[in-house]
């Protein structure tokens, strides 16, 4: 029983990280039709911004305070980078999908090379508060506390985004834009401004995902964004591109399948199971690939 509890909570924690990484990707694709391969770079930027903040702040502040500041910085840096990338690289290329893919892939490669050039290729250990490294007894299972942080962060983001979409004018424009962007423009609404905000929101979520992935791995590294991005794409496709709730459900499913398969089958089978899950979803519901577009 305790094994199951541990696996489920760990799977939910992993799913929470995937949701943080995938939610922005899904919104960006849903509204703008942009497959943002640079999303992993946003995660790396958030992770390194957080790490630099942690190491730059005086130890006297305590690791908990430094972590809280680091999370805020990761969110801000992710949002800023998302905003700038949209304005400089993506905006001139709307509706030119091949060029978008080339630019965002190029940016992701460049970002990794830049990080490696400045801070080296090795992973850098990331401090975390003692309570985050400790465990909590849950129905006999010793669950690492950081899993609860991931789940709480994902729930906050999910709730915040749902509230944004449901109760604000920006959310109304986003929902309409996901359905029919051209018609939103034809009603005199400046969709471009909405694009910028959505990219910034996606960047902030990715920055947070990057830093929390660092907490999960106890370190940050230049390549962490790439591996997270693959799972984020899988989650977005399974959940239906552009669907936030679908993304949340898919993230939980992927996290649980991965954990359970790794434990009950063999180590490494979890990754294979996720790919099989993706294949099954695409066979049963091929429209997942098309999403809102």
């Amino acid at each position: 029983m305790s094994d199951v509890v541990l696996l489920v909570v760990t799977g939910l924690g992993l799913g929470a990280l995937y949701f943080l990484a995938a939610s922005g990707l899904s919104l960006i694709y849903g509204l703008m039709g942009v497959l943002n391969f640079a999303h992993g770079s946003f995660m790396v930027a958030g992770a390194y911004a957080g790490w630099l903040t942690m190491t730059g702040l005086p130890d006297s502040l305590g690791v908990g305070v430094r972590m809280a500041v680091a999370i805020a910085v990761a969110l801000a840096v992710g949002a800023l980078i998302g905003f700038v990338v949209e304005a400089v690289l993506i905006r001139p290329l709307y509706r030119r999908h091949i060029q978008q893919v080339l630019v965002t892939v190029g940016l992701s490669l460049t970002a990794v090379a830049a990080v490696q050039g400045v801070w080296g290729s090795d992973a850098h250990p990331l401090d975390k508060p003692a309570w985050l490294a400790a465990t909590t007894d849950l129905a006999g299972a010793e669950v690492p506390n950081d899993r609860f942080l991931f789940i709480a962060a994902a729930l906050l983001l999910f709730g915040g985004l749902l509230a944004l979409l449901r109760f604000t004018r920006l959310g109304l424009v986003i929902r309409a834009g996901v359905e029919n962007r051209t018609m939103v423009e034809a009603l005199g609404i400046n969709v471009q401004r909405t694009f910028s905000v959505v990219f910034a929101i996606g960047g902030a979520a990715a920055g947070l995902a990057g830093l929390l992935a660092g907490v999960y791995a106890n370190s940050v590294s230049p390549l962490q964004g790439g591996s997270m991005l693959i799972y984020a794409f899988i989650v977005v496709v399974i959940g239906g591109m552009g669907s936030l709730t679908g993304t949340a459900v898919a993230a939980v499913a992927v996290g649980l399948v991965q954990q359970l398969a790794n434990y009950y089958a063999a180590s490494g089978v979890g990754d294979l199971s996720v790919v099989l899950l993706l294949a099954v979803v695409l066979l049963v519901r091929p429209a997942s690939m098309q999403g809102a577009h």
């Binding site: 109304l172 929902r175 309409a176 018609m183 009603l187 609404i189």
Partner: protein, 250 residues
Amino acid sequence: MTTTTTTSARRQEAQPILRVEDLHVRYGGSHVLQGVSFDVPATGVTALLGRNGVGKTTTLKAVLGLAPRSGGVALAGRDVTRWSVTRTVREGVGYVPEDREVFGGLTVEENLRLVGGDVGVDAPIVGELFPDLVRRRAQKAGTLSGGQQQMVALARVLLRDNRLLLVDEPTKGLAPKLVTEVADVLARVAQTTPILLVEQNLPVVRRIADTVVVLDAGQVVHRGPAEELVSDPDLTRELLGVSMRREARQ
């Protein structure tokens, strides 16, 4: 002074709300509009007619900026060809597209609030022209009938102050009773706002249009009073390939 003011007012009245000059649209290798030119008077309904595929919808889209265009489009004397779609709409060009294109996942209220801001179905014009929408404010637009969706599409655009409305086949696919209702609404709207109307239903054209512009193969082939065209069966058959008698029976 009085004379000058009167002359100026007359000139303004005589000035078309929309002037389209030598408008071209190309999609890839296809030259859809080949130098279309016409004026839309500042009052009444101007019907844009023609057989299927001659470029009527493309003309509306090109006026709005939704189609890649070259040539001249002027709104009340101002060149709009370099304006974005958003700016054109904000400057007073309302657009009701073919097939309505309401946002099916949004409620009726949300569809209207997209344009009306804080005011949705509670706007006086909605209660006056579309009372059914007030009752259906919480219903998802995607679950409405075609006629109700058309009402949403019309109401949505009327929440803005328009100087010109572009309305594309508003009666397409509607039952006869709804066709009459939509025509009634357009006739009332046209009392205050000029309309450029793409319409295949000739009885509707006869009822509400003042002038007609007929397109064929991407070019204007006829301009004139609506009555002149629809009361001449031979001309109607020649330009549109249909007979008014047959249309009336339908």
